[in-house]
Amino acid sequence: MEFSTQDKGRYTEVTPSGRLNMVAAPKLREVIDGVVSAGGRRIVVNLAETTFMDSSGLGALIGCLKLARQSGGDLRIAAVQPQVNMVLELTSMHRVLTPHATAEQAFPND
């Protein structure tokens, strides 16, 4: 799994591509930890290129959300693909990690 990080001004966009599984989970945490340490408060994880997520991947997303909130920020997810959406709905985690249609829409202007 590869990660790209982009400063979008209003938020930082992290795009993981590939399979978010047990192998990739610690790497996602590392990337988000880096963003938070660098002062990023609003983080959008763009899941447009994430084709698969297992329970470890979901665990990593939850851990990242907690990390962002603890530092006074927030983390939102966008462009969720079918398999990942299925995992979010089965586990009812979409109530906590609500998917947004696009990264731009995740943090509306306020």
């Binding site: 799994m1 590869e2 590939g18 047990m22 192998v23 990739a24 790497k27 297992d54 329970s55 470890s56 979901l58 665990g59 939850i62 851990g63 079918p82 299925m86 995992v87 709905e89 089965l90 586990t91 009812s92 985690m93 109530r95 906590v96």
Partner: protein, 369 residues
């Protein structure tokens, strides 16, 4: 007297390289090191020959018909061969080591034969050390697997008018799935859980959850009992930043009513006698996933011939949608002669390479009238 020597299996190497001169050099070096060598000049040919089996693959990063990184990832899907990536640019190596390519080592062109041999020997030394460590761990894993299998319920419940069966197959020697049941004055209690991740860590969480769920068996109110268990579990999970999906049901045998709480599991199916099925949605996130959750109880009425099938997400991996999954499971339950057969058939369905996760199936069926 002459002692007998056992010569080891010859090691197989595959050289994937489009440059004829470099390929020739690699082949020559590897043959001298005792490898039987096959060659490929393109990515496509390389993939084909890799499927035939290899212990070592040298892989050029820039192939005429494809990117070496992609070839490497594809090879990794089916092969444990030691992969040595070869690139013409030193600065590429830095970029590559940051990626999840699946390669074991990198070397830049031009390389000296001595350097190449040193790298290969070090790769194989690492492998033999790993093999020794694996043997030591295998024993321990075997014992852990036995402990875990022994935690599964073995008592056949003597409930008139009901049949109950469960199966668990971990993806490794132990896993994060478990199921449990025990008889009560009114019928039975049933738990199916899936701890995040795989292997030993998940198995430890599963064993803890089993004990906690049993400890609330005597609390008469289902929601209160579940909430008590969830709070205790959360305290343990906090330390490991893990979570567990849980389905807990209580059957009143006389009426066929099952009261249940589903925390992030979402894969319990009510399969009706006529073959139709309804999935019971989860009432909230998995236990330990998010603080301050409550889970509302639901009820399902088992009429004669109806079944309750609770499956772990391992089996879901072979279906595109939850609807397809529901239909397939209902089909198997309806077509099977009994719950044992249905469990076996569902486990067989999951016995394909796509399923990399633990697989658990528990089926409770009320006998037809």
């Amino acid at each position: 007297m002459k002692s007998m020597t056992v010569s080891p299996e010859p090691r197989r190497a595959l050289v994937v390289e489009d440059d004829v001169d470099i390929r020739g050099l690699l082949v020559q070096i590897l043959k001298r090191e005792g490898f039987t060598v096959t060659e490929a000049a393109t990515a496509r040919e390389g993939l084909e020959k890799a499927r035939a089996g290899a212990d070592l693959i040298t892989l050029d990063l820039n192939l005429p018909d494809g990117d070496g990184v992609e070839v490497c990832r594809e090879v990794r899907e089916f092969s444990d061969a030691y992969i040595l990536m070869i690139t013409a640019r030193t600065d590429e190596i830095e970029r590559l080591t940051g990626l999840e390519t699946g390669a074991d080592d990198y070397i830049s062109k031009p390389f000296s034969p001595r350097e190449l041999v040193a790298r290969i020997n070090s790769l194989f030394r690492r492998q033999s050390r790993q093999a020794a460590a694996d043997v030591a761990h295998a024993d321990e894993r075997q014992r852990a697997a036995e402990v875990q299998q022994n935690l599964l319920p073995r008592d056949r419940l003597a409930l008139p008018d009901y049949e109950l069966a469960g199966r668990f197959r971990p993806s490794r020697s132990v896993g994060g799935d478990f199921y449990d049941w025990y008889g009560t004055a009114d019928g039975l209690h049933l738990t199916v859980a899936d701890a995040m991740g795989k292997g030993m860590g998940a198995a430890l969480v599963a064993a803890t959850v089993r004990a906690i769920m049993r400890s609330v068996a005597t609390q008469p109110n289902l929601e209160t009992a579940f909430a008590t268990a969830a709070r205790a579990t959360e305290a343990d999970l906090e330390q490991t930043s893990s979570f567990v999906t849980l389905f807990h049901g209580r059957l009143d045998a006389a009426t066929g009513v099952v009261g249940y709480v589903d925390a992030g599991h979402g894969l319990a199916l009510h399969v009706m006698a006529d073959g139709s099925a309804e999935r019971l949605p989860s009432a909230g996130p998995p236990v330990g996933a998010w603080p301050d959750q409550t889970w509302a109880a639901g009820t399902v009425q088992l009429e004669p011939g109806d079944a309750l099938a609770i499956v772990s997400d391992g089996l879901l991996d072979i279906y595109e949608t939850v609807e397809e999954f529901t239909e397939a499971v209902a089909g198997v339950v309806t077509a099977s002669a009994g719950v044992e057969e249905a469990c076996a058939a569902l486990l067989d369905m999951a016995d394909v390479p796509e399923v990399a996760d633990d697989v658990t199936v528990v089926i409770l069926q009320r006998s037809p009238a």
